[in-house]
Symmetry: D2
Subunit: 354 residues, 4 copies
């Protein structure tokens, strides 16, 4: 069984494992005050080229979102997100559990625009409604689509004008750093968002996300908030070693590029088989539309999610590649798919996952 379910099926990149082993016995200060965390933050800071930014290392994406958002917003302030946004759907109400409402907008491709946000600002403008304050985007989105640098700048200009906060969930941020058409640098994110995070878990770390807050007033008590939300690791060295390895010799970008190369190999193979996509693929998440009979055959040997119905006979599936995916795995999937397409029976099987 080969899994394309997600980009966190394997452990960590060997370089991180090696660094962990190498420094395993050094005595370090606890709770993120170790030398490795310091180095990691310095390496990232250097790329940000933005004096009012500061870096904080956390363990997981939902944790990062909830700590950041709860520390930024006042009690009456709310988030605006695409209705497919991760905080709106798959974080078990983590943001609401800190007391904040999420207002959502339906989108086709997971991307927000100023014109989608504006009506919510008008509808929510007196004391009987929450005050929309933080605009949550993910780049890439949950549909694998990306905001271009221009789109990001336009959003940031809009949020600035309206005294809003632009926050970017970067669980797969690496994909945008190395995007062939519209790469966005860390320095861009520092200048054109108010806060974002650099996802490690889905790019080859055992765990770890680097939160960057671009407003000085938010820095001082963030570590206290980490502690309060259970997010401060006693052995911060794990995070420090992970991110200092990532940002040495551009490993972080290399791993993102590896995942993308496998995704493009997969896309090209799918296109050759005349498969169409729910959204055009440009990162390591692909959403091809497959006949139910084919899906059932593929499920014997491959792991992936059936995402949503497309027609009565077809569904959208999600295929995800990672830094650890091999060309052989992709080739094997494509071969099986081709075979399944030929065998495709005329009856409609019931699917396992709906």
């Amino acid at each position: 069984m080969i899994s394309f379910k997600n980009d966190y099926s394997e452990g960590m990149h060997p370089a991180i494992l090696q660094a962990l082993a190498q420094h395993n016995h050094s005595q370090e200060e606890g709770y993120g005050l170790d030398q490795f965390s310091q180095t990691a933050c310095d390496l990232i800071q250097k790329q940000l080229q933005h004096p009012s930014s500061q870096v904080f290392l956390l363990s997981a994406g939902t944790q990062t979102n909830l700590v950041a958002i709860a520390s930024i917003l006042r009690p009456f302030e709310a988030c605006i997100a695409a209705s497919s946004g991760h905080i709106a759907t798959h974080e078990a109400g983590a943001i609401e559990a800190t007391g904040h409402k999420i207002l959502t907008v339906p989108t086709d491709d997971g991307k927000l625009t100023p014109s989608m946000i504006e009506p919510l600002l008008i509808q929510n403008s007196d004391e009987h409604t929450v005050s929309p304050k933080l605009i949550y985007i993910s780049n890439p989105t949950e549909w694998g689509t990306v905001y271009s640098l221009d789109e990001l700048k336009r959003l940031y200009s809009f949020t600035n004008e309206h005294d809003l906060i632009l926050y970017c969930d970067g669980a797969r941020l690496g994909q945008t750093l190395i995007h062939p058409d519209t790469p966005i640098s860390l320095s861009d994110y520092a200048r054109y968002t108010d806060g974002f995070f650099i996802g490690g878990t889905k790019n080859g770390a055992l765990l770890g996300e680097a939160l960057v807050l671009n407003r000085v007033t938010w820095h001082q008590h963030l570590r206290c908030q980490l502690k309060q939300r259970g997010a401060l690791l006693a052995k911060g060295r794990l995070l420090g070693i992970t991110f200092s390895t990532f940002f040495t010799n551009e490993l972080y970008e290399k791993l993102a590029r590896q995942a993308l190369e496998r995704a493009m190999q997969l896309r090209d193979g799918l296109l050759k088989l005349d498969i169409s996509f729910r959204v055009e693929p440009s990162t390591n998440q692909l959403f091809p539309i497959l006949p139910h009979a084919v899906i059932t055959l593929l499920q014997k040997d491959f792991g992936f999610y059936v995402w949503e119905p497309a027609t009565s006979e077809e569904s959208v599936v999600r295929l995800m590649t990672s830094w650890a995916s091999t060309p052989e795995q992709i080739a094997s999937f494509l071969a099986s798919l081709e075979k399944a397409m030929q065998q495709q029976p005329t009856f409609l099987p019931t699917l396992n996952q709906f």
Copy 2:
């Protein structure tokens, strides 16, 4: 510089590192549904010998306390803790941040008794007060003292009679499993508490705590609570491998015993030098009382916390040993101490840490 500041200065025990390396490339289900987490929970479950217990793997102590307590209590219910209790002092208001008050009792040695709890139940018994519900103990306590099995049974019998919940913070639980005078087994904890956790971070893990909930009604949605509080790791394998290694060949107990042996070596050395203690040491935390001048001399070569003033010329310091402490480190500290005692100047230096 040798540190006795805490028991989490080093990385992980080599056996855990080796297991991580060995399984690094296997593809696993995410979010704690991997094979290693299953194995770890099964191994622990076997020792609990208690069908209504269930095991959950988390990353850190504060996280474990807040997830467990917030998932157990209803909004009007409160905790009772010793005023030295970790949740009352050093968790940055994590429990209150989930909405629950902590009522505290001053104690001399960090241990609660039924007679300390009873007055709080009487004072807080109508609708103008919170309803005390969860009795929080730590074993060992923050003073390194331990509840004996008899004391634990007496507390549990008291909490049962009063429809209360007994919860034990086991950040250093290993020390009580192998305590020479009054060992308490995991099966005892399953039978004589309503919930507890088996601390990994302070006993040789890179991170990890195994929460055990002994009431069936608390199990069903705990994983959802983990997600909501940002405590569910995408690569749960780290926790699974850690605890399955711990509970194979009794590694967990061995590491606790190693830390205790070093502590007893240290205690014996201190006693030989006629040093007295704030509380009698019986686990890996020691609280000797040292003259300020000696403290200042020792601080040049050794890391440790000055805990609280004892007299105008002496302070209590905290020395902590771990699975990674070596006999040589202890010997070196004792030698330096002996030398410092002889050199001790007559004037009172100002201390760095107060």
Copy 3:
């Protein structure tokens, strides 16, 4: 200026004022333990004919919703509401501020059906999502429409089957008690919901809502929750006197009927003028569609809300009658409207309220 903005523009019904004056100097126990609160609860309880119901008196609708919902739900549990539901739109994030997500469904008339709820149960069924638990309805809805007794029974049967909770916001419950086509008694609400409240503020009280919880396990600590949320009045007599006056000689129903009679007078007059409605009126809220020019003319002498655009030249307005509305006020409005319809200019004025 005559206001049809809402049903809480005037003070209290004179009978309540008189009762307040009559008992003003009696010494009473504080915090809802006065004799009047007891009498009020007894009078309501008698009508409920449901032993497992209990009555609690609160001050305001949002307060009642937040106290009830926060006391019922566990942290990981969520509400489902129509997207027009009061808790979802006009309570300033009060439910989220207690930690609970609200999942919403778009509706045409503000009413939920089992088939609208079901997909949300399927989409939110694992530990990465909240657990939908409380179905929030308002009867009448925010669009002035009503659930019939049959619809209520069908919803309750659905929620029971799915282990859900049915909660009814009764800010204007009186309108459903005396509904000409499908009256629902308090006893029906006790049997076919898990909780609901009997709105006083919008039916002639100075303030006050009577919360009824129909499950025994929710009763014990509700008063403590009231205190914790700032909802326990020291002089509960105000609430007690209000509701004991309401439920003596059927005053509560009489006032609802008065408001409805004025609404029907208004509806009939509007129909005579060939005005159409956004939804068919059957309670004291009317949503006629008026030309912008007419609206502007009416705004000189009458207060009402412009609710939403209908066409480029017309908007939906909200007109609300109350126990205190007089036949003369209605007649005056209709006369002005008729005149405005005749005067209606051909150009499109800009509206004040959008």
Copy 4:
């Protein structure tokens, strides 16, 4: 039975009742935007003589404390209060339910001094602890003692120096406005606190507290916070009429003076009978120490709280006078007490309330 249990046993002062009746039928804007609320705030504002202050009308003391504190503090910030402070004891964990810890200091008379606060600042100064920010005092305190104007100034100067916030619970503020020895004006409170409230409920209102926030940045969204916490009354006229009546012809001060006069009559009578006090009385709360046998006899005809044990044979009781207490009620109590003192049996009865 005559009650000295508290100062909220009766209804409202007749002048308020009369004003309610007079304006009962005027149509007003909802949610505190009525003309009476505006007038009330203007009248108070005039006395504050402090441009950066703003007034908000709420219903109850706990509600006021929780709305104010939750709106002021950031999530990691905590309160410091005397351990007898109302928020620390008798508000059912209302502050913690909004996520904030209360650090407490034992005091003899309910009053905080800078030297009591300072150690808590030192103990709570890193990211593992909460950040103490808001100093909560009540004036008068829960022991009926008062901070003098000098003491208030000293506290305010201290909190300013340490970047803290001074907040005063004024449930019985009237007693300090008319204190014979050390009167403090509303203008003083505006200048020497950051926030406080003017208690209505315990000074002759049916309900109502006027919150004054003295920092401009806190004003803008306070009404949204009121709504979110369920504290915004649809018919704000009740609060507006109450406070505009209070601050016309100095009624507020007159009622406080009436309560104080009765308290002094009671104190003088008690002193004549050689009764001693737990703390010296100077407001409308008295804490005399009475023999258990006497208490039991008095409980037949008078309502009051037995507060705490004094000796094995005596207890502290709390006697409270109000604007509605009559000279005859006081005289009757004193006569019964004198008689009871003479009859006092030699055996020790069990008390009802402990």
